[in-house]
Subunit: 296 residues, 2 copies
């Protein structure tokens, strides 16, 4: 292990002491991260096993369809409510991919999440990618918004580490978390939702930086305003703006198909730590401002 001098940081309030990083298990696992950052290929998803939480949702369904164009081996859709007709439609899209549906509510205790994942791993043996996409947008429902959008995503992520963490002999894996542009800058009329998405963005950026320890890489896809049933009508916090949905939709938006196309492009880029901004059919990797550095 070589102590490594961090890059010099110029801001006055940075913790400007010389900081010596203590890399852990670095050399052995650099290949996982290197692989993650070099896979911008259209065949990347071919033969992969993918778990998609909320893969029948508005953005989810079109993203599932887009994924099925890539000849996955398995697409396991976990969603709160079964919609058999949609699952049938997906199954018929590509005979090369086995599509499975299993009911899952992300707000269950983490032990339940682990049980469900065990079933999936027992069956498929290996899972390559977990997409965490469960989300609600209703600022009248404070507990539910936070429980689904943040706690549920953290629990599902934590649960899959039992199977993926290289420290436990796992093979590593890839986590794709659905954030939102509101995690960068809020829609002020839905502060509870926006805050929950900021949590997702921040949480996932940590996961990416822990990849050398866990073997699990991570990034967020952050859709801009997308024409979904979620956005068509929703409650603002304390009704500060009853017309928030209508006002948002007066400005340029994107269709769920456009969003799904960018979404799968981002997955194919497979960039550890990517902060993907998906707006109006365009895909861009955001650079996050550095306000301070814990130096560890």
């Amino acid at each position: 292990m070589f102590p490594k001098l961090c890059r010099p940081l110029s801001s006055i309030n940075f913790r400007t002491v010389k900081c010596f990083c203590k890399p852990r298990q670095l050399n052995k696992y650099y290949n996982i991260i290197a692989r993650a950052n070099s896979s911008a290929s259209s065949s990347f998803l071919c033969d992969k096993n993918v778990i998609f939480v909320a893969g029948l949702g508005d953005i989810g369904l079109d993203t599932s369809k887009e994924l099925l164009k890539r000849d996955l081996k398995n697409l396991v859709i976990l969603d709160r409510i079964d919609k058999p007709e949609l699952v049938c439609e997906l199954k018929e899209l590509n005979p090369k991919t086995k599509v499975t549906f299993m009911p899952y509510d992300v707000t269950v205790p983490i032990a339940e999440s682990k049980k469900l994942l065990k079933k999936i791993f027992d069956k498929l043996k290996c899972v390559d990618i977990l997409i965490n996409g469960a989300g609600i947008l209703d600022d009248h429902k404070i507990e539910a918004t936070i429980a689904v959008n943040y706690t549920g995503l953290v629990n599902t992520t934590t649960a899959i580490m039992d199977f993926w963490d290289i420290r436990k002999g796992g093979p590593g894996g890839i986590i794709c978390n659905i954030g939102s542009v509101t995690g960068f800058n809020p829609i002020t009329q839905v502060p509870v939702y926006s805050g929950s998405k900021a949590a997702v963005v921040n949480f996932t950026s940590s996961l990416a930086k822990l990849a050398h320890i866990t073997g699990v890489t991570a990034y967020t896809v952050n859709p801009g305003i997308t024409r979904t049933s979620l956005v068509a009508k929703f409650n603002s916090w304390l009704d500060v703006e009853p017309d928030v949905a209508e006002l948002l939709l007066e400005h340029p938006t994107q269709s769920t198909k456009e969003c799904a196309a960018s979404f799968v492009k981002a997955i194919e880029k497979n960039k550890n730590g990517g902060l993907w901004f998906l707006d109006q059919g365009i895909l861009e990797d955001i650079k996050w401002d550095k306000h301070w550095d814990p130096c560890i």
Copy 2:
């Protein structure tokens, strides 16, 4: 009401259509926000009624002591556990200020928070400032971390709006939320905690922008690494770094007293939307990057 052209935004992925803001109740309440942004005075806190959630905590206690130097009228401390000897100590510090303690766990249902606040408002008639400071740092406890650090803060904030919201005939008020530098950039070893603080930062920035509607201004104080019992020893997520506390403390930190001094300075500056960075005894207002704009 005049439609107002937003500032032009240059980034390629901004929603660049001309956006006409719909200001609501602006003229009537501009004075509240103007007042909020012009009160950088050392006598600002004199005769004020302040509610301090977690005012007996590590940073809380020294901040309470610092507040008591300002001749408040009332300091109502809400904390999970009563510590009578500390409350006695605070009561003796300044006879001009009435110090009261009431037990409060921020994870109770919002109806309970409203009941407690009603008692306080009934007694004091008016409350000027609410400081939300409850926080835990233990990434083994996912639900508790999010429930205390984010959901509890949102619920307490939402509860006080019953008494402050100008749309309900209230007088407005000031919310000071304790975030953390980890809300800007995470300590990657505690991603759950860091994410919860990012949520607080994002949530509060929305509150500030809603002040023209609610009459309630808001800002965050975001301490850097401060030598508290919270930081002395804590669990990292999945034990990715068992020595995270020790490693952090190898770098420059600040004492709770230094933090408290900056904290009260920030309160005195009373800047709506302030993103106060309190590190190593220095107080700085952070400028947040704009990655997109909802244009509403």
